[in-house]
Symmetry: C2
Subunit: 214 residues, 2 copies
DNA sequence: GTCTATATGATGATAGAC
DNA sequence: GTCTATCATCATATAGAC
């Protein structure tokens, strides 16, 4: 059976198994539903409908709801994005504009629809799902704030970072999840101008402890 | 039937109907479960067990899970507490220490176990339950921030208040719900010193718009 | 006021036909 | 790879006996 490629454009030697795009469709749909409804309220049936596939296929590909959630919420390239943002403006680090840089990074990352859905999904689920809470803590700590904290030399760097984290989490919650107005409708620029200095103070300013820069 | 009280200490004229304490036990237990698990994960069965009553009684008293939730999350005396906090230090308002006052009020209100449970329950549920989100918005806006915003004369008072709200929400989320360290273990005093000035700036400082106090 | 029994429905998961 | 059929479990809610 040495059939040549002939008019058959797609395959080199017969049709390869798997890979019909269904798998990714399920993943994308699950991100959407998890972001909109949180872990518990997003049912596998809903996700299957959104992806246009049969519910049984979801199990077939991902085994369980938990596994699907973990697969959907894992985005490998965040550290890269953050690193690039940090490198893009190296002077800001030395110049005491770290807070502004962080604010800009958060707003910038938010442009990416997939990242946005992942983050909202984690936020939504973190409060009712223990696993999601752990993933969110890792997400925030080891990537975004881990990298930024390492640029601080303060002895209470951890405390400072957790304060900044509280403001960032609050921003995401109020602006993107709860949609509190008028914050939700403000431009990214405005938000950066408003939040940046607050983050700067948390990270390197006087926060009422010993090691303030007054 | 003019029977006198006689030796019957408890009742004036025979035993009054109802009121065995069960109703309040259910309410208290539901606050606990809603706070710990959020609206969806807290089942009526769980609540009944926590209250030491039969699940059917919960329905009997409150009709539905929604009604129970609404009853549990409604706390009438918040405006009073806030008002008292504001009156307790009238000079702070004039002196530009509104942010500190707000931070102190939040931390203070958090001392009350019932209030705390209500707030956490609302926060937990707001992200997955539309009704709870609406209640939280009202809770925050009409009581706490409504009263404080009215003391501002800035034209962008709403924007400023929503910024402050984002920080307060983030504080509650990070410190009390997600329990991000070391913020979660910090003392109330430390938190007030750290957050207060940030709130002050949002409410009356330079936030990058026209109406800043530079 | 309190509880037993049950109606009714949604969910995650699995086995197995095509 | 895909789908039908089904299981077991858990939920809210209700009717009615004591």
């Amino acid at each position: 059976m040495n059939e040549p490629d002939g008019g058959n454009r797609r395959s080199r030697r017969g049709r390869r198994p798997g890979e019909s795009g269904t798998r990714n469709a399920i993943l994308a749909a699950s991100r959407k539903r998890f972001a909109e409804q949180g872990y518990d309220n997003a049912s596998i049936r809903d996700i299957a409908v959104a992806a246009g596939v049969d519910p049984a296929l979801v199990h077939h590909y991902y085994g369980s709801k938990e596994s699907l959630f973990i697969a959907a919420m894992r985005l490998p390239n965040i550290p890269g994005l953050v690193g690039k943002a940090l490198e893009s403006d190296p002077e800001a680090l030395a110049e005491g504009r770290l807070g502004e840089l962080l604010a800009r990074t958060v707003v910038m990352i938010w442009e990416d629809k997939t990242l946005q859905r992942t983050a909202i999904g984690l936020l939504r689920s973190a409060l009712t799902h223990e696993r999601a809470a752990a993933m969110l803590r890792d997400f925030v700590r080891s990537t975004i704030f881990g990298q930024i904290a390492s640029t601080l030399r303060s002895p209470d760097a951890e405390y400072r970072v957790s304060l900044a984290a509280s403001q960032v989490i609050g921003l995401l919650m109020a602006r993107y999840v709860l949609r509190v107005e008028p914050l939700a409708s403000a431009s990214g620029q405005e938000v950066v101008r408003a939040i940046g200095p607050a983050l700067q103070r948390y990270l390197a300013g006087d926060i009422g402890t010993d090691s303030g820069t007054a």
